[in-house]
């Protein structure tokens, strides 16, 4: 096996020192001279026409510098999500948003915004804007919203309130598959609306120059696509716009793939109106009510199986709650189906799914992107079938999981899988053999163990436009600058991408610096999402690194008078292959050019030698990533308190086939964080809605996401299948920790109680009610 110098090591994160000392700069920390502060007036109604807006009183308040409404901002349709920049032909992106519209479609929709000398003055001014509404009927459930009598939220061509296309695909003959099945499970599952609840709320600071050039510091996960959206809204050339993170972003989890809700366009619009820089920071409540959520909705599954446990056919359907604007509601049902159908091998499969507009906060991208919804239903089906045919659910899964080269529904091949190893390792850690022996008769606490398996993607291609560029510029002093257009939203890309560059070129990690998350200093990249950054942007980084390495070696061969094939670079020293590469030549004299006895030269000295002869080494990586499935097996041990209905997750074993862990400590962190977010999804997190469409969970306190006190013992287990397509064998990991929690916790709770819950979260209220019903 190849040995690495930098890859596979727990290198300390490049951003950690700044973050640990409080020096790290985030969008919410930005402060520039003359800056104004913006506040947004939001709709109190779920669906209404704006008959009139009177801003005259608000304008008179001292310190108010500008007020933006639909009347004085661009009437240019867009989509806050990056989907409008990377929808693949022949699909058409759905553009259904203005900065401000004459219709409001959910409680929290934007009506107007004020720029003032302080947040306090801006907030005061909002109270003095008079808006006359004409209320329209509203609808909140996706199934209701499809009915003929439901109000029209947007005109749609695919069906009543159905944005984008209906996604349909499959293979084989589904009817034949079920006809040949000995046993069939069929049921419907209901999923809640979950919130990313990242720590930094949506924020942007915009500065419009007198030449019309626009600079926006923001919390976006995708600076380059965001620039494209801003360019369209404000009819300004992309080349006159700079979008950047400053450089840190307080989490993402999908909530700002594209714009940070409407923070960027509102700040730009107000900056244009006032001629001053304008900063907007969403309150936590605004972040809850008015930025994208995970899709709630319905998933139907029908699974057919032979008595010997061979899966024959699976039919999967979904109807997701899009909320009031499309965002990623075209793609999410697609990924739900694609990932749901990619786990198990069988001849006959079909999928039919779409979203439906409702009068609620828009749903968009959130970690897992439809996959957790699919697996909650599918893994319940698998466990139920296992019970009915009397087979260990672990064995049933191992019998049916996809293998390398299998025919499947995805438009790329399964190039690697370590799933069986994931199952084996995680089962051992959880103690799977204890399953069924955990409960004492009469105990008030019921214990159970459940599992699930799944996959995901390593980037967005071919579902979305997905390509990467990386530029590596070797500086005259030998230090190396890597430029990649992805941000670091906390996932460690500003450490792992330099690791890949250092490995490819053959230099020490300390020799590589990186510029990221800035459209001015980096080439185009679609950003950090889809578990793609390390895999996809990393492929471009390795290509750029190899390019630079080749240039350096070609030049060195001439200088050193040694055949190119005999040269190697290790730890920043160019040397003859097989010689003691660690021996530094610097200062010894042999590094000097022209010496016949030269066997070593440092990269540092060689590049200066080249500089004096009018040459610089610049490597370029331009890649279209292939795609590859990361695999995972999750096992949960739970306790269910029969007196309170409380579900407590006590232990988690989460094994992930990440191809190759470029930085194992960072990979573990991704898995652990995903697991806990999934525990929240399964047991407590949900945004509910009042009869009039008001969201009821609009603060951390009300929303109940897991705290340190709720965190179970989590064992993150890394499995490496060395993927043939990824950089040094790596695959995606970012979203994967989140995918199986609800599925496996649902199975664990069934194991404990004998009750199958088709709806999450498993709140004490919901669980207690069923426990009581079960007693009768």
């Amino acid at each position: 096996m190849k040995t690495f110098n930098v890859v596979g090591k727990n290198i300390k994160r490049n951003d950690a020192l700044e973050k640990a000392t409080g020096k790290a700069m985030f969008s919410t920390d930005m402060n520039i001279p003359g800056m104004l502060y913006a506040k947004v007036l939001r709709s109190p109604h779920a669906h209404a026409l704006i008959k009139s807006i009177d801003t005259s009183q608000a304008e008179k308040i001292p310190g108010v510098k500008g007020i933006a409404t639909w009347g004085n901002t661009p009437r240019e349709l867009f989509n806050t999500s990056a989907t409008m920049t990377f929808t693949v032909p022949s699909m058409e992106p759905v553009l259904d948003q203005y900065i401000f519209d004459k219709v409001v479609r959910y409680v929290g929709d934007e009506v107007a915004a004020v720029a003032a000398i302080s947040e306090k003055v801006a907030a005061e001014a909002l109270k003095h804007i008079k808006v006359e509404y004409e209320l329209l009927p509203a609808v909140f459930d996706p199934l209701e919203a499809m009915k003929p009598e439901a109000p029209i939220i947007h005109e749609c061509h695919a069906g009543k309130n159905i944005p984008a296309e209906i996604v349909k695909f499959g293979m084989g003959d589904i009817e034949k598959g079920f006809a040949e099945s000995d046993i069939i499970f069929e049921d419907v599952f209901k999923l809640p609306i979950q919130k990313q609840a990242q720590l930094e709320t949506q924020a942007a600071l915009a500065q419009v120059g007198s030449d019309g050039g626009i600079t926006v510091w923001s919390t976006t996960q995708t600076p380059h696509p965001s620039r494209m959206i801003i360019s369209k809204i404000f009819s300004t050339p992309q080349s006159k716009i700079r979008v950047l993170n400053p450089p840190y972003v307080g989490g993402g989890f999908g909530v700002r793939i594209g714009l940070s809700a409407k923070a960027e366009p509102i700040a730009v619009a107000l900056s244009k109106l006032t001629g001053k820089p304008v900063k907007i920071v969403y309150t936590r409540e605004e972040d809850f009510t008015s930025s994208d959520t995970r899709h709630g909705g319905y998933v139907w599954v029908k699974l057919g199986c032979k008595n010997d446990g061979t899966f024959q056919a699976m039919e999967l359907k979904s109807a997701l709650n899009a909320g009031a604007y499309c965002s990623f509601s075209g793609e999410t049902p697609g990924v739900l189906g694609a990932m749901g159908l990619a786990v198990y091998r069988m001849e006959h499969m079909s999928y039919y799914g779409h979203s439906v507009y409702t009068n609620f906060t828009p749903s968009g991208a959130m970690r897992g992107f439809g996959n957790p919804q699919a697996m909650f239903a599918i893994e319940a089906a698998v466990d139920t079938i296992a019970e009915r045919i009397g087979m260990d659910p672990l064995e049933l899964r191992l019998k049916n999981i996809i293998q390398v080269g299998d025919n499947w529904c995805l438009p790329y091949t399964c190039g690697s899988t370590g799933l069986a190893e994931c199952v084996e390792k995680a089962a051992k850690v959880i103690g799977w053999e204890r399953r069924g022996t955990l409960n004492e008769p009469g105990s008030k606490i019921l214990r159970g163990i459940g599992m699930g398996v799944g996959t995901h993607c390593s980037n967005a291609w071919p579902f979305c436009v997905d390509y990467d560029n990386a530029i590596i510029t070797v500086q005259q002093d030998g230090s190396i600058l890597l430029a990649v257009g992805v941000p670091d939203i906390g996932t460690g890309t500003s450490t792992t991408l330099p690791q890949l560059a250092a490995e490819a070129i053959g230099v020490e990690m300390s020799q590589v610096n990186m510029t990221f998350g800035d459209t001015l200093t980096t080439p185009f990249d679609i950003g950090s999402h889809a578990s793609r950054t390390l895999y996809a942007a990393g492929t471009a980084v390795v290509a750029a690194g190899n390019d630079v390495r080749k240039q350096i070696l070609e030049y060195a061969a001439v200088v050193m008078k040694i055949a190119l094939e005999r040269l190697d670079i290790t730890k920043g020293i160019i040397h003859i292959s097989g010689s003691n590469e660690a021996e530094s030549c610097e200062g010894s004299g042999i590094c000097r050019s022209g010496e016949e006895s030269m066997t070593h030269i440092s990269v540092r000295e060689l590049v200066y030698h080249a500089h004096l002869r009018n040459k610089q080494f610049i490597g370029i990586g331009r890649t279209i990533p292939p795609n590859s499935p990361p695999w995972h097996a999750h096992f949960y041990e739970v306790e269910v308190d029969t007196e309170t209905g409380m579900v407590k997750v006590v232990k988690v074993a989460a094994a992930h086939d990440v191809g190759k862990a470029v930085n194992p400590m960072i990979v573990e962190g991704q898995i652990e964080g995903g697991v806990l977010m999934g525990v929240g999804y399964a047991t407590s997190e949900e945004i509910k809605i009042s009869a009039k469409g008001k969201p009821l969970h609009t603060s951390y306190h009300k929303y109940l996401l897991p705290t340190a006190m709720d965190a179970p013992e989590i064992h993150a287990i890394i499995v490496e299948s060395n993927d043939p397509s990824g950089p040094y064998g790596a695959k995606g990991v970012g979203e994967c920790g989140m995918v199986l929690s609800a599925a496996a916790i649902g199975n664990a709770v069934y194991d404990a109680t004998g009750i199958r819950f088709n709806e999450i979260p498993l709140t004490p209220e919901r669980v207690y009610k069923r426990l009581q019903e079960n007693k009768k």
Binding site: A16, T21, G252, T283, G669, E672
Partner: protein, 157 residues
Amino acid sequence: MNTFKLTFTLNGEVTEVLAEPSEMLVDILREKMYLTGAKKGCGKGECGACTVIMNGEAVNSCMIPAMKAMGAVVETIEGIGNKDKLHPLQESFINEGAIQCGYCTPGVIMSAKALLDKNLDPSNDEIKEAIAGNICRCTGYVKIVNAVMSASQKIKG
């Protein structure tokens, strides 16, 4: 505007600043002292991102009216260490991968410091309790708890 002169000890230095009675300590630190280490995640005392130590106790600085800080001794993340001499907690957080997006980090470290200032031998549960008011959405708290534990051992020597 009804301002008053707020005098308090900030990171070891006697500090005077004009404040409004309605202002919160977090805004004074961030907007007037340009100490942006304490973050604002909610403004309602629910997320802990703005945690600082006031008179030895970890507090949500978004819930401390300026008046209440009068005469107080306030420590922020910027005051407990720097790149040349890190606090053992900062060192552990860096070394053990306890930092991801970093937005909660200063607050978590300050809550943990308030704990270790009083208890150098905390149990896992005591650590979890001390940081229970600090929401982290990235890490699952695993490496955070480990980092606090190892910092306590480092300080004990």
